[in-house]
Symmetry: C2
Subunit: 456 residues, 2 copies
C-alpha cells in the first residue's frame, strides 16, 4: 500500500526528526521477526510518549491504515510482522524504568525496556520480575505483555499475565486509558489488564505497565534426573507437582534432544537416557536443602536411572549444561527450525511426547521435545534440513495440534498465536468463543486498524 | 414488573416441577443478599445443567427480561439483588464436584458448590483452592468467581482470578462457550476467563469452572506483633513484604478494632496496643521455623511492643483469637455495619488508616480498620448505631473513596462493586476505561439482560 499524503504529513508532525523513518533499512528490519513471515511496512515510527501514541492511533484510524506494534522483534509467531503494510510503531525508545517501589513490590516501566535490563535494575533491590523467556536480552516487556511470555520460572512464579498489576494503553479507538491498579488485589470493574495481556497488539497499544515484583530467593539448587523412558519421567513430573514444594523450574528433554545436545557438545557431560528432568528449587540458605530433599524423594521411582543433586551454585551450572547446549545444537542441525509451543495437562505429557514422536516418524521429519514439563508446556520443535522436510514439517502441524487438543491441551503456552497459528485457532476454541473474541476486538478496535490478520 | 405469560410458559418447560418457584418465601429470600439492598424477583429458577442455562438466557433475552445469578447470597455489595425484578437463577443445585485431578493440580466444579465443601473434598488429596473468604461455609464458588473473592491467604496464594484455569459459561447472547484451558499456561487468544472473573454476572452466567489447586502446606505457624501505632505496624508490613519469605497471611487490626475485640471477648487475651499484626507462615515441618524466624526479624523494629511466636498449632489458634473475636464484636455494636473493602499500595497504609480515622471523627461515626495488610486491602468498617449515625456514615463514604483514590488505591479488593459502589466507579476509573467496559458489556450482553444496574 501507499500511505495517503495527509497521513504522512500528520505522522511527520507527531514524530519529528528521526522518530519517523521510511528508509530502506528501517523498512527491511521492521518487516521481520523470528517467524518465517515477512512484510514491509510503509513507515516506521518511534514513539517516546503516551500522547504521541494517542495521536498515532487516531491518525491511522482516520485513514484506516494498519498499525502494528513492535518491540525486540523476537516473536516466533509473526505477531510483529505488518502483514498488510502500513505503520510499524517501534517502542524500543520508550524504555524508561519509571519507578521501582520495593515496599509495594512493584515497578512502573515503559514497554520498550528489555526484560534483561529490567531484571538488572531490580536485582539491587532484591527483586525480580517473574517472566524469564529465553530471549530476555533482546525481548521487551511490551513484547512479553503482548504474547503472555513465560519461561522456566513460570512454574512457581507465574507467566506474564500473573505478574502485572495495571497497564496504560491506547485502544484502537484512539482513546488512551488505564487498566488495573497499583495493588495486588482488585475487584473494581472488568479485568481489562489481563484481557490486553496476550492480545498481541490487536486491541490496544500498551504505553506503560505496573509490574508485580517477586523477592529474589537467597538460595537456588538444581537436580538432574534421568529416566528409562518418557513415561517414567512424566510420572515423576506428576509426583513432583503433587507434593507441597513447587520447584522454581521443572524442565524436560526427550531422548532425541539429549542425543542432539550430546553430539554437539561432547564436553558438556550430557547423559544418555530415555528422558531427562532438570529441576530447580529455591528458598533461603537454611531451607533450600529441605526443598531439594523433598523434590528428590518425588523424583525417585520406577524408571529412574540416575539422580544428581547439586551441592552448590557451580554444580547447578554443570547440571544445566545439557539444556543450554540444546539451543545451539538445534541451530547446528538446521536454520529452518519450526518452533512449536503446545501445552497439555501434566498427566498427558507421555501421550504428547509419544504422539509427537509417532507423527515425526510418519512424516519423516527430525523432532525434539523439551521444555517446561511442570506446566505441561513443551516445545515440540521440528528440525527440517531441506525443502522437502520443511514441506513435510508444515504438513504435520495440523495433526500435532489435533493431538494436543485431543489431550485436553491448547495451541500455545507462551509464544502466542500471531499469524502462524491463526488458522488453527478454531481447533482449540469453539465458534461461540471465537465470536466473543471478535466482538471484544470490535469493542476495542472498531475499524480493525491494530495489527490486522493476527489472533482472531 | 409482571413476566410475559409466554416467558413463564417457556420457563416452566425448561424448569419443570420445583425447579421453578414463584412462591412468596422464594421471592422474599431471593430479594436480598448481605447488603442493605433488596428487590423481589418475579420468579426463581434452579438450573441443574448448562443446557438449561442456555435456554434460560435465550428466553429472557427474547423477552428483554432481567436475569440475575445467585449463589449463597453472601454478597455485601448487592451484586445478587435483582434490582429490576425479573428472573433469579439460583445455582445452588448445580453443586457437583465433577473431577479432582491431583496430577494436573486442578478440579472441575459446578458453580453452586460452597467454598467449604470444595475445600473438604480437596483435603484428602493434599490440596486446597486458594480463595478463603470469611463466608466460606455459605458462599459458592460461583459467587467467588463473580466478585473475585479473596481472603487472608490471597497474600501468598492469590485471589480467585489467580486460581482459575478455565470456565464454561453462557453469554448474555444466549450462546454457551468455553474460556481458558485445563493447563497452567495459555497464550491462545484473548483471556476471557479472567474477564468473566469479577464481572458479577453482568457478562455471562458461569456453569462450570476448572480451578487451579495448591498443595496444602504440611506445617503452619503464627506470629502476633503489637505496635505503638499504625505507622510502626505499617512499616513492619513493608519490611515483611520486602524480604523473600512471603507470609500465608498478614492481617492488621487498629487500636479501635482491638478495643472492640477486648470489650466483647474479655477472655480472648486481646492485647492493648496502637496496632496489631497477625502473621501466618507455612512450609514443611523442617522449614517452617526458618520462615517464622525470617518474618519475626522483619516484624521487629521501631515501635514494636511485643512479639509472640506460636510453637505449635494450639498456640496458633490462641494468637488468632483477637481476629476471630472481632466479627462477633462488630455485630454486638450494631446491626447496621457498613462493610468497606478498599485497597491501597502497602506503603500508603498509614495514610489510609489515619485518614479513615480522621474522617470517622469528622463525621462522628464509630469506625474500625482491619484486614489483609499484606495486600493493602483493609476493611474500613463503619459501625453506626442509630439512624443519624447511619446517615452520617453513608455521607462519609465519598470522602473515604476519594482518599483511597488519592493514595493510589481502588474501591474494592475482594467484595466487588455491585450496586453499592457503582456510583463511585467514575472516581476510580477514567471515562475512557468505563467506556471500554461498557463496550465489553455490550459485546457479551447486547440487550442488557444480565444483572442490569450492576458494575457498569
Amino acid at each position: 500500500m501507499t500511505l495517503p499524503a495527509s497521513l504522512l504529513d500528520s505522522l511527520r508532525t507527531i514524530f519529528p526528526g528521526d522518530a519517523l523513518d521510511s528508509g530502506d533499512d528501517a523498512l527491511r528490519l521492521a518487516a521481520r521477526d523470528h517467524s518465517r513471515h515477512a512484510h514491509r511496512p510503509d513507515v516506521v515510527v518511534h514513539p517516546a510518549t503516551h500522547a504521541q501514541v494517542e495521536s498515532l492511533v487516531r491518525a491511522c484510524r482516520e485513514h484506516r491504515v494498519p498499525l502494528t506494534a513492535r518491540g525486540g522483534g523476537t516473536s516466533s509467531t509473526g505477531a510483529s510482522v505488518p502483514l498488510a503494510g502500513g505503520v510499524v510503531a517501534n517502542f524500543q525508545r520508550m524504555d524508561r524504568i519509571v519507578r521501582i517501589a520495593p515496599d509495594d513490590r512493584l515497578a512502573v516501566v515503559e514497554p520498550g525496556v528489555t526484560n534483561e535490563a529490567l531484571q538488572q535494575a531490580l536485582a539491587p533491590h532484591g527483586f525480580f520480575w517473574a517472566p524469564d523467556p529465553g530471549s530476555a536480552p533482546w525481548c521487551t516487556v511490551g513484547g512479553n505483555l503482548a504474547c503472555n511470555a513465560g519461561g522456566p520460572r513460570a512454574l512457581k512464579y507465574g507467566a506474564t499475565r500473573d505478574n502485572v498489576l495495571g497497564l496504560r494503553a491506547v485502544a484502537g479507538t484512539g482513546e488512551g486509558f488505564i487498566a488495573g491498579t497499583q495493588t495486588t488485589k482488585d475487584s473494581t470493574g472488568y479485568d481489562l489488564t489481563r484481557l490486553l495481556i496476550g492480545s498481541e497488539g490487536t486491541l490496544a497499544l500498551i504505553t506503560g505497565a505496573t509490574l508485580k515484583l517477586t523477592p529474589r530467593p537467597a538460595a537456588v539448587r538444581s537436580l538432574r534426573a534421568t529416566y528409562r523412558d518418557t513415561a517414567s519421567a512424566a510420572q515423576a513430573v506428576a509426583r513432583i507437582m503433587a507434593q507441597p514444594v513447587t520447584p522454581a523450574a521443572l524442565e524436560f528433554m526427550d531422548a532425541l534432544a539429549l542425543k542432539l545436545a550430546r553430539d554437539h557438545a561432547p564436553d558438556a557431560d550430557v547423559p544418555e537416557a530415555g528422558a531427562l528432568l532438570l529441576i530447580e528449587v529455591d528458598g533461603t540458605p537454611e531451607t533450600v536443602r529441605f526443598a531439594q530433599d523433598a523434590v528428590a524423594r518425588a523424583a525417585r521411582g520406577d524408571g529412574l536411572l540416575a539422580l544428581d543433586v547439586a551441592a552448590d551454585a557451580s554444580e547447578n551450572t554443570a547440571l544445566w549444561a545439557a539444556r543450554k547446549a540444546l539451543s545451539f545444537a538445534q541451530r547446528a542441525v538446521t536454520e529452518h527450525k519450526i518452533n512449536e509451543d503446545v501445552v497439555v495437562p501434566v498427566s498427558r505429557l507421555p501421550e504428547l511426547v509419544a504422539g509427537a514422536q509417532a507423527l515425526a516418524a510418519k512424516h519423516a521429519v527430525p523432532l525434539v521435545c523439551f521444555g517446561h514439563a511442570g506446566n505441561g508446556n513443551l516445545h515440540v520443535n521440528l528440525l527440517p534440513r531441506d525443502v522437502d522436510e520443511i514441506e513435510r514439517g508444515y504438513a504435520m502441524l495440523p495433526e500435532l495440534f489435533a493431538l494436543v487438543i485431543a489431550l485436553g491441551g491448547t495451541l500455545s503456552g507462551e509464544h502466542g498465536i500471531g499469524v502462524v497459528k491463526r488458522e488453527y485457532l478454531p481447533l482449540a476454541l469453539g465458534e461461540s468463543t471465537l465470536a466473543l473474541m471478535r466482538s471484544v476486538k470490535a469493542a476495542f478496535d472498531p475499524d480493525g486498524v491494530l495489527n490486522p490478520g493476527k489472533v482472531v
